[in-house]
């Protein structure tokens, strides 16, 4: 396994960084936040349609560029650093991989090309749980009726609702199969926009009350199997971990800049060893988390079951914990201004806690890792 980035990969990352420096600065993010949250529509249009970021990891036969998870992760890292207010993660890391893994002809010939071309955004109504538990926890149900289906169920928190153009809903059929439904906005959907502490990523509640959908809304080929779900979720988890890494790096860098200028007792506070050592420890955590995320991401192409799943879970644990620690240190080291609205740490602080809970909090992932490496129940 080679973890070196290629020249092309570095170019993708660096160009994305320059683009977001210009188009998703702190000032741009604050326009969205001060308006109560949402999507930066102009930014999203450019990213999705002109820059083709959604196409990155979609196979070429489905209209994408056919690049790997590594390229997508690098983009997510840059997006995390800028807290970019757009549905790239939900579209490219949640919805597209699920369609790639489980989709039928319509998914592959119509929906994925539309995502790759930046024509639509999409999201998945997964419960907020560690990935091993996702399939079992699906409570939405579907039953065939006439030419279509009837859907029933509630999903409390769905990323990038109400904005998403397409909502993918895994729902259980009476025979136990989990089917995948693609709901577009022509359907009479009940979606409540949720007020969130983290205004950089919208969340919505989806209610399906005896919703009639046409047969073509079902877009899975043969149901969502456990291993397909795991792979699709792993993509989302690694994308999120990369985003958390990027956010951590950014908040560490802005903190270093601040303490390098702030003078007390006739010296910059960055010169105090108590502060240097705290920053250095964070740097160790960062190197550890980034290495694991890169390693797990590089291993994504030759996926090998339980061990790979454990590594993906581990990437989430480290990245989630890193980001939170980086931000709490940032607030502390900023002193009084650290808990003001005017300085940026609070934006990262809220993102850190909100993203911590998406697709399962660290404790759940730790349980999954322990199960994989020690065994569970009677095996122990």
């Amino acid at each position: 396994m080679n973890l070196d980035l290629t020249a092309d990969q570095r170019a993708i990352r660096d160009e994305a960084g320059r683009f977001l420096d210009e188009n998703s600065s702190s000032k741009d993010v604050r326009l969205i936040v001060d308006a109560g949250g949402g999507t930066d529509e102009a930014l999203w249009r450019t990213v999705a349609r002109d820059l083709g970021w959604c196409a990155m990891s979609i196979p070429e036969e489905c209209g994408g560029l056919g690049l790997g998870m590594t390229e997508m992760s690098l983009l997510m890292e840059v997006c995390g650093a800028h807290l970019a207010c757009m549905p790239l993660w939900s579209t490219a890391c949640l919805a597209a991989p699920l369609l790639v893994e489980t989709g039928n002809e319509r998914a592959r010939e119509t929906l994925l090309p539309a995502i790759a071309g930046g024509e639509i955004s999409a999201t998945v109504a997964w419960p907020a749980l560690a990935h091993a538990e996702q399939l079992n926890a699906i409570s939405a149900t579907a039953r065939a009726e006439g030419d279509g289906y009837r859907l029933e169920g509630e999903v409390a928190m769905v990323a990038d609702l109400p904005g998403a153009d397409l909502i993918l809903v895994p729902a259980r059929l009476p025979d136990g199969t989990v089917a995948l439904f693609a709901l577009d906005r022509t359907l009479p959907l009940k979606i409540a926009a949720l007020k969130t502490l983290d205004a950089t990523r919208p969340l919505g509640a989806l209610s399906l009350t005896d919703l009639a959908v046409p047969a073509e809304a079902r877009v899975d080929e043969n149901g969502i199997g456990a291993s397909a779900a795991e792979r699709a979720l792993a993509f989302g988890i690694l994308g999120l971990a990369a985003e958390q890494l990027g956010a951590a790096r950014a908040v560490m860098d802005l903190t270093l800049a601040y303490i390098g200028e702030r003078v007390q007792f006739g010296r910059t506070i960055a010169s105090f060893q108590a502060i240097k050592h705290r920053c250095a420890k964070l740097e160790v955590d960062f190197a550890e988390a980034r290495s694991l995320v890169y390693g797990a991401t590089a291993g994504f192409s030759d996926w090998s079951g339980e061990e790979a799943n454990a590594e993906v879970a581990a990437a989430r644990v480290l990245a989630s914990e890193l980001l939170f620690r980086a931000v709490e240190e940032s607030i502390q080291l900023h002193g009084g201004v650290g808990f003001t609205w005017e300085y940026d740490p609070h934006l990262y602080f809220k993102r850190a806690q909100a993203s911590n809970a998406l697709l399962g909090a660290p404790e759940g992932h730790l349980d999954a890792i322990a199960d994989a490496i020690i065994g569970r129940g009677a095996e122990v």
């Binding site: 010296r267 250095a280 160790v284 694991l292 730790l366 490496i373 020690i374 065994g375």
Partner: protein, 395 residues
Amino acid sequence: MSEAEGIKALRTEAAQWLAEHLTGKYAPLRHRGGSGDGDAFPVLRKEWERELASGRWTCPGWPREYGGRGLSIAEQVAFQEEYGLAGGPGRMGHIGEGLVGPTLIAFGTDDQKSRFLPGILNGTEFWCQGYSEPSAGSDLGNIKTRARLDPATGDWLVTGQKVWTSLAHLSDWIFVLARCEEGSVGRNGLIFLLMKIDQPGVEIRPIRQIGGGAEFNEVFFADARADARDVVGQPGDGWRIAMALLGFERGISTLGQQMSFAQELDLIIEIAKENGAALRPAIRHRIARAWIGLRAMRYLAMRVLSTDPDGDVQREGLSYKYHWSNWHRDLGKLAMDVLGPEANIIADDWRRERLQQLFLFSRADTIYGGTNEIQLNILAEQGLGMPREPRGALK
């Protein structure tokens, strides 16, 4: 043959050779002689070095013209991993192979190369490192050992004391950093000397360690002699040579070390399953975290050893020592907590013994080779560009 195929072939060759040779009289050496266990089976482990040499497995990273195999870093990593997997014992020749050899290849005279490299390559001459002193630990520039030129012979006469010298009592040669310019301070005025240990004026006293063994020593010099031919670099230029030597330790051997860490973790899991500790949620999470840390360590090492020109990778490499040493120390505590009350009982049980040694000796990991505190200074100053620590005025 592609690079990947070449590595695969090398792995097969190494695994097969080790399976055939690390057996019979060498079988007791498996998994022995690692950190904290360095004085185990010294005579047999020296023989093992000659056995390795017979298979051309000593110094595989050295250039071919000096008798090595000229392996790339990726190939050296592969060999280290196979060596670790096979339970290859701690290398008595490590200091010679990994530190002295590359230093002489880079800075040595032809005469030095021809006199010293073959003994290292053949596994017949063993080296130890004379850097630390009682008042020069983390502050290595504070060296007080003196080297005085003997005008009659051109030799250097060395007086002073070194400490924490690993395996000095089992070595033939020591490289010594000493002060050769009267009145010089810090990094200036130092000399890098190669000295024979078995001579009048060199006395070795073992230091008994926390685990009961004694792989470290104090080394006393009283007008001990370094041959005029055995200065590396110029007198006064010792600091540069000394630092270059440390730079050759790029951490390739740590990939082998990680194999041994993985075996320790496996052992802990095995015992936790037997004694029921593996049913306790808090222990399960700690084991999961240990596994995570080891995985991250592996990927971090792979990135650091790569030739990636990315500046980020260089910076993140500074974290490596802090990460592995603290991880290992925590693993020692986890091992004891999994053993429970039995951790305190000494018994004729190799598994328990190994974990007890892990618990005790891993305390050294965060001290030698740059303490935690020094590592954090390096990270802050070199990695993050934060202000340097002020120097004190006390002598």
